[in-house]
Symmetry: C2
Subunit: 225 residues, 2 copies
């Protein structure tokens, strides 16, 4: 059954710290929602009323910057979405959009707060997760601003291969415009750079299908721009 959290294969490490009674509460107070590729899961500027747990599919977290849309990061399951935007502000400070068909759990915010109250382990897991997010975000920002476009693009490709798809060949879930928004460059530059990678025999592309031919090269480019 969808709604029995104790049987859910997607359970978070934080939830694994809950006892059966607390899991029962969670089971009774969440709903599973499916989003299609392209759907908005959280919209910047709206009130944040739920905790969202991503259990299937890939999403982008993005904010409207001073000039362009900026993709802050991509996220894959299992992870909570929008904790910062829910506990840190009344109104959502960023948007979250499905890049693939997704399944998420909407958890009532007061129920979630009660779990935080009742279980110190649960709380501490959440604190640790938030801490890791912040460190990651510092690191990502430093890379993005210091590396050249080549290096950042190599990073994105490697991230998809190593982290999101665990395969040397995959279908890009985002457009070149979005890659630009992710690494702070123009769509045109992304296009040119991808062609260049292909010409150099580092990757092979067929539409959105991307295959890594020479991973070592990509890693070198990632390091040395």
């Amino acid at each position: 059954m969808d709604s029995d959290c104790s049987l859910c294969p997607y359970i978070s490490t934080a939830e694994a710290k809950l006892d059966s009674c607390q899991l029962k509460t969670l089971s009774d107070n969440h709903i599973v929602v499916r989003f299609k590729k392209g759907d908005t899961i959280i919209k910047q500027g709206t009130y944040s009323t739920n905790i969202i747990f991503l259990r299937k599919g890939l999403v982008k977290i993005h904010i409207t910057g001073p000039y362009n849309e900026q993709i802050v990061k991509l996220a894959k399951p299992p992870t909570y979405l929008g904790l910062p935007t829910t506990f840190g502000a009344k109104v959502n400070q960023y948007s979250i959009t499905a890049l693939e068909d997704c399944e998420v759990c909407f958890i009532d915010i007061t129920v979630f707060r009660n779990l935080l109250k009742e279980s110190e382990h649960f709380s501490f897991e959440i604190i640790q997760a938030l801490c890791r997010y912040e460190i990651e975000s510092f690191r990502r920002c430093a890379n993005r601003t210091q590396k050249l476009t080549r290096g950042n693009l190599a990073d994105v490709i490697l991230d998809f291969a190593n982290n999101f798809y665990q395969s040397e060949s995959f279908t890009l879930p985002i457009s070149q415009t979005e890659i630009g928004n992710l690494i702070d460059t123009s769509r045109e530059s992304v296009s040119r750079m991808l062609s260049e990678f292909e010409k150099d025999g580092i990757i092979k592309m067929n539409g959105k299908l991307l295959e890594i031919i020479n991973k070592k090269s990509l890693e070198l480019i990632s390091l040395n721009g």
Copy 2:
């Protein structure tokens, strides 16, 4: 007395949620340390063994990026320093350096963890703070990468005036090289841009002393590059 937290004028909003007994524990398990301008408070790569609370002075949080040192952000009291680096990783993921003479409290990490356990209010305050940090950091990163150097420099000046010193005239606590590391540009560009601001009658500089002459202009530059 320095070590009685219930009398401390610098107490954090989280600590305000503690009862007198918990405050007593805190009092008995922390030490106040003074740092001189330029001193390292936390060093990237070392083990993180204490929670640090900044109660006086200005600090910079910085990481070694792929090419340059990057100043992630500046922080002023009252704030905890290095929560993410302490709970998110075994080893410090960034450095913190005093930009002015500082006073900080070193709090034993197990004592701090116990407070998190005992007080849900305390925990939740910490969670909220971490959430706000993350949102801030997204925003900062988007600005930095999208705005031109002019706009970023204007932002830094305004931030000092509005946030850190609350005065239109103040002594810059960082060098032009450091401003460069903060807004991802070269020292030379910072120098040129500051001269330009001065020539345009927007600011007046005398050594490290900076006076804002035309704040409206700065705000416009901040918005429009």
